[in-house]
């Protein structure tokens, strides 16, 4: 669809706000509805839109499959790593109080922030990976 000017221009207008909105949903999750899952999916939606307009090859040059795969793993590690930090600091697994024992609510805040970031990264990467995997297959007959 690269040569159709209307979809191309419209998508160019839309992709940055979508990415920005994903970040908003991600980081505003503490105060209103939102969080890693939703943000990850919205972020991936921007990449999906880009792929639909400019083609799989172009998209794979921007977000390399190898990097996506690494991000899937890193997100999970960030989540579990947050838990392990509290473990090493002598608290129970995922007990965010460990992150700031002097001010437990702040510790909880920080913990949730990190965990949700991990979730967001993994979800976005997984959604993109799934889309690429399906888009990469040729059509049957």
């Amino acid at each position: 669809m690269k040569h159709e000017s209307i979809p191309r221009v419209v998508s160019k207008w839309f992709i940055p706000p979508i990415l920005l909105f994903a970040l908003y949903v991600q980081f505003h999750g503490d105060f209103g509805p939102g969080g890693g899952f939703q943000a990850g999916v919205i972020f991936a939606a921007a990449v999906v839109l880009y792929t639909l307009i400019f083609g799989l090859q172009a998209a794979k040059q921007i977000v390399k499959p190898r990097i996506i795969e690494t991000l899937v793993a890193l997100g999970v590690l960030l989540y579990a790593g947050t838990g392990l930090v509290s473990l090493f600091l002598g608290y129970n697994f995922l007990d965010y109080t460990a992150l700031d024992p002097a001010d437990p609510p702040h510790g909880q805040h920080l913990g949730i922030f990190l965990v949700e970031l991990g979730v967001g990264i993994t979800v976005a990467a997984v959604m993109i990976a799934i889309f690429f995997a399906f888009a990469g297959r040729r059509r049957l007959r």
Binding site: T70, A73, V76, L77, A80, G81, L87, F93
Partner: protein, 492 residues
């Protein structure tokens, strides 16, 4: 620190290692790393069992949120026993993995294979360790999704359809379980198993309780492949890579049986399930019919892996039979058989895997004269096969002994007789393999190289265990007895 956090480390170690495998990528490196993790899990699981036997129930609150509000990991004798079983199998199989996976899985997918393997391990351990009903579902899906992937990695294209069929049945089963859990939550407002067991009794008269229990039971019976809900199992075991077959046969259904035990005895209580709803009236005949029908199907199979898969369903029948007696002896028999069957079936599937590596086929017709061509592997197959029949001095004998003892204790001698007679069917299907391998002449009688040493270590390790635990029954039977007593609510 390790001592205090044992329950969570058992889950987190394989869970964190799975994404690390993706980052490592390099074949042998990933294998070495995964092996290390499996051995570490085995160490943690043994430490956990020792502590549970010394101190009793261990509870761990995730995130410091105390139960019943937070997710609680609750370990008592029975799940420590299951955890040990799963980690033993996972660790022993890693020796087998290196040559077998190189042979059966395409090189580019190796690191993904081990990632899925570790995730499956995480899921199975998670199911066994958690004390939260919904958490069971989450871990169940982690283990199921990774096992669908593992099965689909088989060479044959039928592995894909087998995996798909398992996916449909498995998801239906898991969703049934979620419905059951949802209705339980609706009645009590809690998801903690211990809390549920306190709050459910006043609800026993309501229709919701019956419906919840019905959904839960059907879901669990699909997952543990109880006859007649076992249709997904033979294909899945038959076409999966050898390592995956051995791993799933030894652990997945066993963990599902643990879930069944946990929900029926701990959460709902034997009184409601067996006295009010009389589940045993339904469980015992179904187990017996299942044993006979699937053993007969096993006799007519022409593919060894399929034959063993049908035999697995029959053996699940024995475990459910033991549970159906609702006595300490019966449960001991069921729980011991759970452990013993895992050992022998894994050994058998590994022997089949060794032959597949060298011969490239698990068709019975191709196994002619194999007794002379691969004597070491076939010797292991025969020894583990003797266990399957229940010959004295093997583990199979121990578990059948307790089952028959339980039947006689309850005064149901026809059931004891039927269970005894069903062993004859096992004789027939094991004999068929032996007959082909030892007494039929191969078209090509040249000697085949035995499987690599790594695979032999796993195979003989497990075969040796079937003999060792057949003579030295202290560990398995004593722990199973304590677990059975705990489930039924009497201390032996």
């Amino acid at each position: 620190m390790i001592d205090m956090h044992l329950p969570i480390l058992l889950i987190v170690v394989p869970l964190v290692s799975a994404p690390l495998c993706v980052l490592l990528r390099q074949k042998t490196l990933v294998w070495a790393f995964a092996s290390l993790v499996c051995v570490a899990s085995l160490g943690l699981a043994s430490m956990l069992l020792i502590r549970v036997l010394e101190e009793g129930v261990i509870s761990y609150a995730i995130g410091g949120w105390i139960a019943p509000w937070g997710i609680e990991y609750r370990v008592d004798t029975i799940n420590a026993y299951v955890l040990l079983l799963v980690s033993i199998i996972a660790a022993v199989l890693m020796f087998f993995a290196l040559p077998s996976v190189v042979d059966e899985v395409s090189g580019k997918q190796h690191y993904l294979f081990y990632t899925a393997y570790l995730l499956c391990l995480t899921g199975l351990m998670g199911i066994a360790i958690t004390g939260d009903a919904f958490n069971v579902f989450v871990f169940l899906e982690i283990s199921s999704l990774s096992s669908y992937t593992l099965i689909a990695m088989g060479r044959d294209r039928r592995a894909l359809t087998a995996s798909y069929q398992y996916l449909i049945m498995g998801t239906l089963g898991a969703t049934f379980i979620v419905i059951g859990i949802g209705l339980m939550y609706m009645m009590t407002g809690t998801l903690n198993m211990f809390d549920l067991s306190q709050r459910l009794p006043p609800m026993f008269e309501t229709r919701t309780a019956m419906v919840a229990f019905a959904f839960l039971t059907v879901g669990m019976l699909i997952k543990l492949a109880m006859f007649p809900l076992h249709m997904w199992l033979p294909n899945a075991y038959c076409y999966a890579p050898s390592l995956v077959t051995a791993f799933l046969a030894a652990t997945a259904t066993k963990v599902s049986i643990y879930v069944f035990l946990r929900f029926t005895f701990t959460v709902w209580g034997a009184e409601f399930v067996f006295e009010k709803l009389n589940l045993d009236i339904f469980l015992i005949p179904l187990s017996l019919i299942g044993i006979y029908v699937t053993s007969l199907s096993a006799i007519y199979q022409t593919n060894i892996k399929r034959l063993l898969a049908y035999s697995s369903v029959a053996q699940i029948g024995y475990m459910m039979l033991g549970i159906g007696f609702v006595s300490v002896t019966g449960l001991t028999g069921g729980i011991v058989h759970l452990f013993n069957h895992a050992l022998m079936k894994a050994a058998l599937f590994l022997a089949a895997g060794c032959v597949v590596l060298r011969l490239g086929s698990s068709n019975l017709a191709d196994w002619k004269g194999l007794g002379r061509r691969m004597p070491v592997t076939m010797a292991a197959f025969v020894l583990a096969g003797l266990s399957l029949i229940g010959v004295p001095l093997t583990v199979g004998f121990i578990s059948k002994w307790y089952l028959i003892l339980a039947a006689l204790e309850a005064g149901w001698w026809p059931i004891a007789l039927l269970a005894l007679l069903s062993s004859l069917l096992a004789v027939v299907y094991v004999w068929r393999v032996v007959e082909v391998a030892y007494f039929q002449k191969a078209d090509d009688d040249s000697k085949i190289k035995e499987a690599p040493l790594m695979m032999q270590i796993s195979m003989w390790g497990l075969t040796g265990a079937t003999l060792y635990f057949g003579i030295q029954t202290d560990l398995t039977v004593n722990v199973a007895q304590r677990a059975a007593g705990l489930l039924i609510g009497v201390t032996p």
